[in-house]
């Protein structure tokens, strides 16, 4: 056994152990992008660097073998600066959005590109599942949402934005009509009690997600029906009552109790709620911040004051959203508040601190040249925007598929399991520190199930290695050297086709979104 000291902790490891493995065995986290267990260390990303007594400079711990008596440091200011700089350098040559502009532009953060991929494949159930992760009232919003997502849709550079709102409406309508509508899996009941005041879009949304988090709640509503401003006269023409009723019904089906004709300050009071329930969410809508509330909660400019990342009011356990806390001209914003409130209330109830949505790192595609643009749009159908034959009915199945195939899929298909993004979220590199020439945008997508985007590659070579291990493909290599080096197949053939049967293996080992499954 070899004995070495890492961050003043002594550890014994068998010969042939790397410093990275030794550190991890001690529970000392060292980040690594290009490292993968059982693969030859490529020691290229350099975020795993450590300091070793006796060596000047920084050593990649993924390739450095532990030696007797070694003294290693893993978290000096120099190491942290180098890790962040390595990320900043990698990101300065990274071409791609983590999330598409549509999702960033959606107040509720709906995963639009993924919904569209399922719609294009005719997988309606999967599509509504994606929609409902972020949106409790899609059929409603599919009719009344002003669609800020479409305003930022990149497809507009080519012709017109993708018809996102109608696509979503199709997914939702299809679900409402289904004999077996989608029913989310709710966590088992936590036994906590939550009161939601107001059954408008904000309160309904909160109730829906609270139920999914395992906190079935009680909704207090001053009117006799749920819906709030969704029942106002201006919307009646666009929003048939049956749709509204059915979508609200789906929420109530999750075990939400509804108490109509209950007005705050008349029939019940905040102090009592606060006493009887573990948490309270106020979603009474705009203009409802009356004297009663003002006497209980700190106000600001005529609205209840909240921490906008958690919707927490000045009183512990009391949260507020929707029109109560600021102007909510768009219903979708109120719906987003409801979802956020459900999350922070969940965090609060589970004993943690209400922290809100973790803010994730976001790489941006940046400007594309004309030539790059042509490559970028090449995988989409270049037909003009599909208009439903019957506007009343929305898209037909055939129309939905045609429209969905116009999507450029700006988002990264591996946004949830990209090591580069995860580490960037953790280390917070400043994008733009090192601006300069970057690679050309390129995409190889002739393969039946995988796609390779070289602009997201960090040159770790794991795909090259994994293909070398079997005979399923023609194999890959690096072409050239230095800044222009790239993963390539022999004679510049398409890398995705060269990966052949082993394409999935590349996706599996790729630490970023360079290799991805097309339909994720």
């Amino acid at each position: 056994m070899i004995t070495l000291v890492i961050d003043n902790q002594t550890v014994q490891v068998p010969p042939g152990t790397t410093v990275l493995q030794a550190a991890r065995s001690l529970g000392i986290p060292i980040p690594a992008l290009c490292y993968r267990q059982d693969f030859e260390p490529s020691s290229s990303c350099m975020v795993c660097v450590v300091e070793v007594e006796g060596f000047s400079g920084l050593m990649p711990s993924c390739a450095l073998m532990a030696e007797e008596g070694m003294r290693v440091r893993t978290n000096t200011p120099q190491i942290l600066a180098a890790r962040r700089a390595a990320l900043e350098l990698l990101l300065s040559d990274h071409i791609g959005d983590c999330e598409g502009p549509c999702r960033s532009g959606c107040p509720a953060g709906m995963d639009i590109p993924r919904m569209i991929r399922y719609l294009a494949a005719g997988e309606w159930t999967k599509a509504i599942e994606i929609v409902k992760r972020d949106l409790a009232l899609p059929a409603v919003l599919g009719r009344i949402c002003p669609a800020p997502c479409e305003r930022v849709c990149r497809r507009a550079r080519q012709d017109q934005a993708v018809s996102i709102c109608l696509l979503k409406r199709f997914a939702a309508d299809r679900d409402l009509q289904s004999p077996t509508p989608y029913r989310p899996i709710c966590r088992p009941s936590s036994g906590k009690k939550v009161a939601v005041v107001g059954a408008g879009p904000c309160g309904l949304s909160a109730a829906y997600y609270l139920a999914r988090h395992g906190h079935p709640c009680v909704i207090f509503e001053q009117k006799d029906k749920a819906g709030g401003m969704l029942r106002c006269r201006q919307l009646q023409e666009k929003l048939p009552e049956t749709i509204l009723e059915r979508e609200i019904g789906q929420i109530f089906d999750l075990g939400v109790s509804f108490r109509p004709n209950q007005k705050l300050g008349r029939d019940f009071y905040l102090e009592n709620l606060h006493r009887e329930f573990d948490a309270v969410f106020l979603a009474l809508g705009g203009g409802a911040a009356d004297e009663h509330l003002a006497s209980q909660l700190r106000m600001k400019d005529g609205h209840i004051e909240v921490d906008h990342s958690t919707l927490q009011t000045s009183r512990e356990g009391v949260f507020a959203g929707g029109g109560l806390i600021g102007s909510r001209r768009h219903c979708v914003k109120a719906v987003a508040d409801g979802k956020l409130a459900a999350l922070t209330i969940h965090q609060y109830l589970m004993g943690g601190k209400a922290a809100g949505e973790p803010s994730e790192f976001h790489s941006r595609l940046g400007a594309l040249t004309e030539e790059e643009w042509r490559k970028f749009v090449s995988s989409a159908d270049l037909i003009s925007r599909v208009e439903p034959a019957d506007p009343e009915m929305g898209f037909s199945e055939e129309e939905v598929v045609r429209e969905a195939r116009r999507c450029l899929h700006c988002d990264c298909r591996k946004k949830k399991n990209c090591k580069l993004r995860q580490l960037s979220t953790e280390l917070k590199p400043v994008v733009g520190t090192y601006k300069g020439q970057r690679r050309q945008y390129a995409r190889a997508d002739s393969h039946w199930e995988v796609v390779f985007e070289s602009g997201k590659c960090i040159q770790c070579g794991l795909c090259v290695q994994v293909l070398n291990r079997n005979n399923l493909s023609e194999g890959l290599t690096f072409r050239g050297r230095g800044f222009g080096m790239q993963v390539s197949a022999a004679l510049d053939k398409a890398p995705d086709l060269a990966a052949g049967e082993a394409g999935r293996l590349c996706v599996q080992v790729c630490p970023t979104g360079a290799w991805a499954l097309k339909n994720r």
């Binding site: 700089a85 090192y434 023609e474 290599t477 050239g480 050297r481 230095g482 080096m485």
Partner: protein, 786 residues
């Protein structure tokens, strides 16, 4: 050009495999053979090779695309390689390259002219730094180029039947009355020494002078090349800058023709020549120098030859000369008198450190390899000298090939290695040729091969030529290159002494280090240990070039000062003005200002000063050199040579380069200097190999010593008048109205009226400097500003 049918390519590849073999270490030789045949690597050839070698086409593709040498589309008939090494760069290689492009009308994004006659390329360094700017067309090197000489060079090349440059070797006329010695190494040839040699040969034969004519090792005084040395009657006469037409006069000055007819004939010819050429009174020789001559003795006297012992006297491939100078004595001692441990002790006591750059104690490497029980062990001579501005190893391989082989044999015997390679840069064809020949002669005499000298010691050596990748000078990359993999450096440890070639213990040294070994063993450790400073023993060979009056190859004891080299040996700057700085150590080194020229040259002082011994390039810079531009130049080089493996080097050097380019264009911002420094330090600390970790040195050292020049650029001025975006050319009232500048201007930017002062149109001017070079009245000035 061969007709490229699939079957003919396959046949050719099959033949190559038959001759060369198909093991992984034959990857480069096979690719080189194909490229030599077709001028590029046809797809069918790669396919066929992959079948033979049992490797995927992708793997071979990855290897081939790494190197600059390989092409994937057909090339022109002739290959023009413009040297952009340091010395060439500071003397205007960039302008020469553009002039070729313009003259051949090659579009920016291509490299071959429309008639496919010439392919134009840049080469990192031809190792002819004193002839800067230099260019190689096929096998012919031209020196002292300038943009306006481009058309005549091309004419000259096309009009010449390819000279059989090497034909003169080994032909030594017998005869006792005297000896003429001419060096035929690469840089002397570039100024025509082979033509001089032929002229001497011709006269000696015709007039039956009975003089022995020899090609000898490099004399080092490149500034005098071609140099002819005549020895007669116990005295030595040296003639510098000799032309072929001088041969007769020089010979006849010292040797009388043997027969009456020859004497009469020669007198008549001389008379006729003077009539025809109308050269009455012109001295036959441009320079005559003897060792007592102040100029040459200033150059030679402070030098201490160890690696270059025998400079200018011994025949590079002359087996007798080699032995006369003590060759094989050391190897014999090893084989028959000493134990390996004794030799190891000698090496330790000598204090020998690696001459390739890092200065790692040689003894420790030897000991580690010797102590390693694994077998077989390998020895490698690193002759992949890629630093622009350095040509020591080239000269040693061309001039003292036997010495290097003896050094390798001694080292191999000491550490127990039985096989090995000499890895030599492809840009050094003569070095390859001479080492090959030396290898053959060595083996023929039984000093290589099985059971050397009847002992148990066997050693088999092979030569491997590089293919144009600077990073192969890094030892782990070099090993990968021999093994036929993509030459990417890996993390050390493990060091090659532990896991080297084919994962076996490997001793790897550069050519200069190995060439010092025989002397240490022959004369004892003290012979080296008594020279130099406490931490740096012995001598170091430097390639002295740039703005220096006497440049060439110099070998000095460690510890001499920079000033001694530049002023005593180099004779100061060519212009007579004080020098501004020296760039030492090439792309891994740094610039040391004249104010610090009194620091001694040894490993540690140089590192402390922010430079590095490197492999020993020493380029003198004067007031006309812009330090920001020099830093940019070196970074551009390392950035282009980065293997691409680690983030800091691959992306970091690129970002540093972009900042420097901005500064040179006058677009830098106040925060750029701080950013250069912080990123530079991170690259130094975080890069995987020596290439990356030393790449920021030229930038950081110039910021350290010449910050004011950087700041001037931030304000839009280039004090040295070099950065094109920050200068303009103007014609002063000294103009005599001769129109020469307008005739030569490649951009048509000079408006002229004969006999009136000309004017330069600043919008059209491309700032190539041609007008300034051709102006007979020195009327073109460079002004700072935009």
């Amino acid at each position: 050009m061969n007709a490229l049918t699939e079957s003919s390519v396959r046949e050719f590849v099959d033949r190559c495999v038959g001759q060369i073999g198909s093991t992984p270490d034959k990857t480069l030789p096979l690719l080189q053979a194909v490229q030599k045949q077709y001028g590029y690597l046809p797809a069918e050839a790669l396919q066929r090779l992959s079948e033979w070698m049992g490797r995927s086409p992708a793997e071979l593709w990855g290897v081939a695309t790494f190197y600059d040498q390989f092409r994937f589309k057909p090339a022109g008939r002739h290959r023009i390689r413009v040297c952009v090494g340091t010395a060439c760069h500071v003397k205007g290689a960039g302008e020469v390259f553009e002039a070729f492009r313009r003259h051949l009308q090659i579009p920016q994004e291509e490299d071959t002219d429309s008639q496919r006659l010439f392919t134009l390329e840049q080469v990192a360094c031809l190792g002819c730094c004193m002839l800067a700017p230099a260019v190689q067309i096929d096998d012919v090197i031209y020196g002292y180029l300038s943009p306006e000489k481009v058309p005549s060079v091309l004419r000259d090349f096309l009009s010449q039947t390819q000279e059989t440059a090497a034909s003169a070797r080994h032909r030594t006329a017998s005869g006792g009355s005297g000896e003429v010695r001419i060096c035929l190494d690469t840089s002397c040839r570039a100024v025509g020494s082979h033509r001089v040699y032929q002229a001497f040969e011709e006269v000696i034969r015709r007039d039956r002078l009975g003089v022995r004519l020899r090609d000898v090792s490099c004399h080092g005084a490149s500034y005098l090349a071609p140099l002819a040395e005549v020895e007669t009657g116990g005295r030595v006469y040296r003639y510098g800058c000799v032309k072929p037409s001088d041969a007769e006069a020089i010979l006849h000055r010292h040797f009388r023709p043997q027969t009456l007819t020859a004497r009469v004939g020669s007198a008549v010819r001389r008379f006729l020549d003077t009539l025809i050429e109308d050269r009455i009174g012109e001295p036959p020789v441009r320079f005559e120098t003897t060792i007592r001559d102040e100029d040459l003795s200033g150059y030679v006297k402070p030098q201490v030859p160890m690696a270059t012992d025998g400079a200018g006297r011994s025949g590079p491939l002359d087996w007798e000369d080699f032995q006369k100078q003590g060759g094989l004595e050391a190897l014999r001692k090893c084989l028959f008198e000493k134990s390996p441990q004794e030799v190891l002790n000698e090496i330790e006591q000598s204090g020998l450190r690696g001459r390739g750059g890092g200065g790692y104690p040689a003894f420790r490497k030897w000991q580690a390899v010797r102590a390693n029980p694994e077998k077989p062990k390998y020895i490698i001579c690193n002759g992949d000298e890629g630093d622009p501005g350095a040509f020591m190893d080239r000269m040693l391989m061309e001039s003292y090939p036997f010495r290097i082989l003896e050094g390798m044999a001694i080292a191999a015997w000491t550490v127990g290695a039985s096989e090995g390679y000499l890895y030599i840069r492809d840009e050094y064809p003569l070095a390859v040729e001479r080492m090959k020949e030396a290898l053959r002669i060595f083996s023929q005499h039984g000093w290589l091969g099985e059971r050397i000298g009847g002992t148990d010691f066997s050693l088999h050596l092979e030569i491997c030529t590089g293919a144009g990748a600077f990073v192969c000078g890094e030892e782990t990359a070099l090993i990968a290159s021999i093994e036929g993999r993509r030459p990417m450096p890996r993390l050390r440890p493990p060091y090659p002494s532990e896991k080297g070639l084919w994962d076996k213990p490997t001793l790897i040294h550069n050519a200069e280090t190995l060439s010092l070994v025989p002397a240490i063993v022959r004369q004892g450790a003290a012979s080296m240990a008594s020279i130099g400073t406490a931490g740096s023993r012995g001598t170091k060979v430097f390639a002295l070039a740039g703005k220096v009056r006497r440049g060439g190859l110099v070998e000095v004891p460690m510890g001499v000062t920079i000033r001694q080299i530049v002023e005593e040996i180099g004779g100061g700057t060519a212009s007579g003005k004080p020098f501004k700085a020296v760039q030492i150590g090439g792309p891994s080194g740094g610039c040391i200002p004249a104010s610090m020229a009194d620091i001694p040259i040894d490993y540690d002082s140089l590192t402390q000063a922010g430079a590095m011994m490197g492999s020993g390039g020493l380029v003198v810079l004067d007031e006309s050199d812009c330090m920001v531009e020099i830093a940019r130049y070196f970074l551009e080089f390392t950035q282009r040579q980065s293997c691409g493996r680690c983030t800091f080097c691959r992306v970091g050097t690129k970002r540093m380069l972009e900042i420097l380019e901005r500064i040179c264009r006058g677009e830098g911002t106040a925060s750029d200097l701080g950013k250069l420094e912080s990123l530079g330090h991170l690259i130094q600390a975080g890069s995987l190999c020596g290439l990356g970790s030393t790449a920021p040195n030229p930038v950081l050292s110039t910021i350290r010593y010449f910050r004011n020049e950087y700041e001037a650029h931030l304000q839009g001025r280039c004090p040295a008048g070099r950065c094109r975006a920050l200068i303009y050319y103007a014609i002063t009232d000294r103009c005599i109205g001769c129109t020469r500048c307008a005739q030569h201007c490649p951009a048509g930017a000079i408006d002229m009226q004969p006999y009136q002062q000309h004017q330069i149109n600043r919008d059209r001017c491309i700032r190539c400097g041609t007008c300034r070079a051709v102006c007979p009245a020195d009327a073109v000035r460079v002004e700072s500003g935009r």
